[in-house]
Symmetry: C2
Subunit: 159 residues, 2 copies
């Protein structure tokens, strides 16, 4: 496949992940969305539901992976690509490794907790039994703006 | 509290986690068990169910934390101690951080995937917004033997 096709596809699926993030935002959840794609088909979509579910593990990535595990009836998601609007934390990077996902595409970088590029490089650690290809910064501005607007509104509400 | 009391308590709760690991083993799951304790009361217990649930995230720690989140109706498990028979991987260490657990006690070290002491020190990273006290090697021999026996039997079955 030509590089431009891959880039267009990455942007297309990231826009779907952004749609998920917007749903989170409208429910007062930190706006992070994820979409899991296999053979160019969307298998599952999810957004952060930590507050609604009061579940520490209810990040968008974990929910999208869990749904896909159920749909595929398998913990292995080998040929899939995960799109997520924010660089995964260590929990989510670990879930990506544990589900043997092939490729990750993320939007905004997370200098405070990112475990793919920012604080750790969990997905490219050759000591682990799986590595994951990844691309960061896809539709980065749109993903970042969503997060910034959310936290600005949160600060205004709490005044 | 005197140090000996803490040690005795740690061994007591670790034995409960080992009971959970034995349940996993009897169901052909990698034998890892976890117990979450708050104010000396067991809040939740769980064992690895990756194969039974075909869920990449169904490690003992994640399941015990999820159950406790439901029982406490909160994603925050601030005053709790998690006991687990094997050093947590990056996904589980991340889930421990995300649930704000105070203390972790683990049994066997995991040189291939351990993210607390072996490959990473996620729980003591001052760049993250939470740190977790931890003790490793509690009832280490019993925890290790369970795992070794399981994998020996698995190899014999697959011959």
């Amino acid at each position: 496949m030509a590089t431009t096709d891959v880039l267009e596809k990455d942007n297309y699926f990231m826009m779907l992940a952004i749609d998920q993030a917007k749903k989170a935002s409208s429910l007062d959840e930190v706006p992070v969305g994820a979409v899991l794609v296999c053979d160019d088909q969307v298998i599952s979509e999810a957004f952060n539901k930590r507050e609604a579910l009061q579940l520490a593990g209810a990040h968008a990535e974990v929910l999208a992976i869990g749904k896909a595990n159920q749909i595929k009836k398998s913990w292995r998601l080998v040929p899939c690509t995960l799109y997520v609007t924010l660089e995964p934390c260590s929990m989510c990077a670990g879930a990506i490794l544990n589900s043997r996902i092939k490729r990750l595409v993320f939007g905004a970088r997370d200098p405070k907790a990112g475990a793919v590029e920012s604080l750790y490089s969990l997905l490219s650690d050759s000591r682990l039994n799986h590595q994951v290809e990844f691309v960061g910064g896809v539709e980065e501005e749109k993903c970042s703006v969503l997060l910034k607007e959310f936290f600005t509104q949160l600060r205004q509400k709490s005044r």
